[in-house]
Each structure stands twice: as C-alpha cells, then as structure tokens.
Amino acid sequence: MLDGHIDYWPLAGILVVVCGFALRFNPLLVVAAAAILTGLLGGMDLVAVISLLGKGFNDNRFITVVYVVLPVIGLLERFGLQQRARGLIEAMRGATVGRLLVGYLAFRQGIAALGLVSVAGHPQTVRPLLAPMAEAAARKENPEIDEADLEEVKAMAAATDNVGVFFGEDIFIAIGSILLIQGVLRGEGIEIAPIHLSLWAIPTAICAFAIHALRIRLFGRRLRRKAARAAAAGSIGGSIGA
C-alpha cells in the first residue's frame, strides 16, 4: 500500500450499515453491529467498544426527551382534536392544501430561524393538527379523493415540516449545528463568528422555500385537476343517464 499509515479497515462499519439496511435487518441491530465491528477493527477491545457505545448513547439522551409530549397529544386525540382540526378547515372558505402547507412552511422556517426548533414537530404539531387539516382541505378540493392521494397529502405535510425546520434553524446563531461548525473549524485553527455562518444559511433558506413551495403548488394543482376530471366524467355520465 502506498499510504500504509492510513488504516482503511474501520470503513467496514459503513459497509455494515449499508448492507444491513439493504437486507432489512432491524436498524438498531445494524447500527450496534456496525459500531462494535468498527471499534474492533479500529484496535479497541470488546469491553472498550461496548463502553464507548454506552457512553455515546448516554450522552445523547436529550434527543429522545421530546416523546414526553405524547401523553398530552394522545389525551387530546381521545377528545377529538384531529376531528376538530379537520372541522376547522372544512368550515374555512378558500382553504386549500397548497395554501395551508405553504403557510405552514413559512411559519416553520420563521420560528426555526428564531431558534424555536422544538416548538413544532411530528408528534407536537404534524400528527394532531397539520396532517388532519391537510387531509380535510384535500377532501374539500376533491370529495372523491382516493386513499393513495390522501396518503400523499399526509406525507407531504410531514415533508413540509422537515424542510421548514432544516432550512430555517441554521439562521439562528446559537443552534447546535452552527456551534458544531464553529467548533470543528476552531479545531483546525480557523476562527469564525457564528453570525457569518448564520448569514450564509439565508440563501439556501430562500432556495428551500422557493423549491418546496413550488412543489406544494404543483402537488395541489395535480389534486385539483384530478378532481376536475372526475367531476367532468361524472357530469358526462349523468347527462347520458338522463
């Protein structure tokens, strides 16, 4: 080997992740196997790898804290929160999937840019509010809408939440990823102020809004065209019958 001092063996862990996932093993199992294999190939002993895995898991518990919202969300669902969210949209004139989701995208990017990342999210807002509202709006635009299209509407609602938070949060100067970039570059001897990083997040944020909002509008238009076609077919059928 030309560069004998570089050890390529730890890369086998990446291969384990890719193959394990492709073979549809349980992802937790795949990740644990990849971690242990990588550690062993990197020259650690088994106890050291298991300890490192345990420490990494323990240090990152804050990621999983968010699920404490589930009891409240579930409790409100018990009393018809989703049904009420649907009812609100049904009663609203001019509510369309497009307007609802583009509005939410702007809201989500805006509050994420203020650093309020956990204010909304899939358990907090998408399941109890946004998805039922989007579903109701889609049914309003096309009462005959089929299951497959409704699935796409719900998936689009979740996708909109993700795009909003990912490409809004980096505008806030004290968010984790900005601090991570600053830390990594400092480790390489390069000092930058967080404000410069967050300013350079703005062009991408604008592109993300433009691209995703356009896709939402096109998606909404496709749903309406289907509805119009179904209605036209219905009226032809009706006139033949009469």
Binding site: G13, A35, T64, H122, F166, R215
Partner: protein, 318 residues
C-alpha cells in the same frame, strides 16, 4: 437550577409509566417485550449517569436485542371510538386547541422572556436547555389543564401516550443510537480513512469538482449516518479545510455553513434519520413507510444542486 437532569427525570417517569401499563395490557401478545423495552429506556433516563459506560453499553445491547428479535408489539389501550371523537369535537369545539397550543406558546413566550428580560439572569433554568425545559413545562401545564377540564380517568394520559409510543416503537431510539455510532466512528479513525480516500480520487486543481465532491460527500455520508452532525467533522477535515479553505482559499464561513446544509439535503433522503422520516410515517399511519422520504426527494435534489452553486459562487467567486 432546572437543567437536563430534571428533564431526564421526567422522561424516565413517563417511560416507566409506559412500561408498567404495557406489562398490564392483556391485549398485546408481546406485552413483556414492550414492558422490558420501555423499562430499559426509563432506566437509562433515571439511572444512566450511575450505570457507568460499560453498564450503559450493556443496556444498549439489551435494547438492541429486544428490537432485533421482534419482541415489540402494539399495545391496544382502551380509547374512544371515531364516533365518540366526532361527538366530543362538536361539543368541545375550538377550545380543544387551547391545551395543544399551550405547549408551543409556553416554549415560545418563555424563550423570549428568558432571552430578553432579567429573568434569564436569575439562574432558574440552565441556559443550554431553555427551550427543551420550557417545552416540557408546557407539556405539564397542558396535561394538568386537560385533566382538570375534561376529567378523563387518571390512567388516560399514560394509555393514550403508550398508544402513540408503541406505534413509533424502536425507531424512537435510532437517532440516539446513531449518535453513539458516530462516537465510535470518530474514536476508530473513520474520518482519517474517508479523508485519505477522498484525496486519492480528487483532481488537484479543479475547484468546482472539489466543491461538488465535498457537497455530495456531505449528503452521502449523512444518508449513511442519518445525521449531518456526524458527517460534518469527517468531511470538513477530509476536504473542507485542507482543500477548499487552505489550498484554494475558500471563505470558511461559506464552506462551513453550506457544507452543513448540503448534509441536511441528505437527511431528507435517508431512513436512518428515523425521527424525521420514519417516525412521522408511523405517526400518520402511512401504508408506505418510505412515503415521507418519497415526497422529499423532489425538494432535496434540486436544493443540493443550489447548495453546490451557492458554495462555489459565494465561497470562491465573490
């Protein structure tokens, strides 16, 4: 001072309650699997700092074993029917939104109060965890308010929460596991190996190609690791710093910021980012578990192209 320890205590109690209710659920054939899984999560939250690194490692292996042997089922706690929910929704009207809104409003107003008034200096809340602490506070307020207002059985919050938690299942822990995998990768020298490999395939003088490989590498590594945070240190030390910044004089702020955002495009594409892509598919009861990812491809790929152009133009031409 209220900090992350207090949050872990609350989360530990919630998961312990899920575990007890799961164990007592006769309708779930795999109830002991669910009970053991949520009990281990509760132990991690309540006692994680006392178990030691090896103890936590064993706990992780037990969790992985339970998930890997398909020992988790779906609890079926008693809840209201669709008709009852329609009736409640008509009777209670839009007041139902109030408790749901208490959570974000508490987090929002609280964060503002904390940042812009002397309250922040009072030392009540650990500044690193303000939003998360306020979010959990909002949850407590909303829960108390709803219990007093609607007077459901005392077991209702645990049962309704467990219904949703079981539908997410093991996927709830995948992001935390990937973070642990990242720690092992770093210690084992994966970054150095990826860097050496990228250097071997990189043409020496073409800035644009180096930008493309950096951005694609960020996205690809994020797809594998499920998180741009794990990809960034690797790609920055492999290509970002030595080639883009030092050899070609790129603006460090642009390379750092846009590199991370190129990684976020990868997050939109990967089932490994379970909390963003798989959990919502479960929560929304989608038949296609990759449904959310499918709706994101059309945004992620053009946006990745935009990031490459922004990085090239702003980092090297401006």
């Amino acid at each position: 001072m209220i900090g992350i320890t207090a949050l872990y205590f609350v989360a530990g109690l919630v998961f312990a309650a899920f575990a007890v209710a799961s164990a007592r659920d006769p309708d779930n054939p795999r109830r002991w699997g669910n009970a053991a899984f949520w009990a281990l999560v509760a132990v991690s939250f309540l006692l994680g700092d006392r178990l030691g690194d090896f103890g936590n490692g064993i706990l992780v292996l037990l969790l992985v074993g339970l998930a890997g042997c398909r020992c988790l089922g779906l609890g079926r706690p008693r809840t209201t029917s669709a008709e009852e929910r329609e009736a409640f929704a008509r009777k209670l009207g839009s007041k139902l939104f109030l408790p749901a809104l208490v959570i974000p409003v508490t987090a929002f107003a609280g964060t503002l109060l904390f940042s812009y008034t002397p309250l922040g200096a009072a030392g009540l809340i650990d500044p690193r965890w303000v939003t998360l602490v306020l979010l959990v506070t909002g949850v407590a307020l909303a829960l108390a308010g709803t219990m007093i207002w609607l007077k459901p059985p005392l077991s209702a919050p645990v049962d309704e929460g467990r219904r949703l938690m079981d539908s997410i299942g093991w996927a709830a822990l995948l992001p935390q596991m990937l973070a642990a995998l990242g720690a092992v990768f770093t210690a084992a020298g994966v970054g150095g190996a990826v860097g050496a490999m990228s250097l071997a395939i990189l043409p020496e003088s073409n800035v644009f190609l180096a930008v493309v490989i950096f951005a694609l590498g960020m996205a690809l590594f994020t797809v594998i690791m499920g998180n741009a945070f794990a990809a960034f240190p690797v790609m920055a030390s492999a290509i970002g710093v030595p080639i883009l910044i030092k050899a070609h004089g790129g603006d460090p702020a642009v390379v750092g910021a846009i590199g991370m955002l190129a990684g976020f495009c990868g997050t939109l594409l990967t089932p490994m980012a379970a909390n963003f892509n798989m959990v919502p598919a479960a929560l929304l009861e989608l038949k296609d578990e990759y449904g959310v990812i499918r709706r994101q491809i059309g945004t992620a790929l053009p946006l990745l192209a935009c990031n490459i152009l922004i990085l090239y133009i702003a980092g090297f031409l401006l």
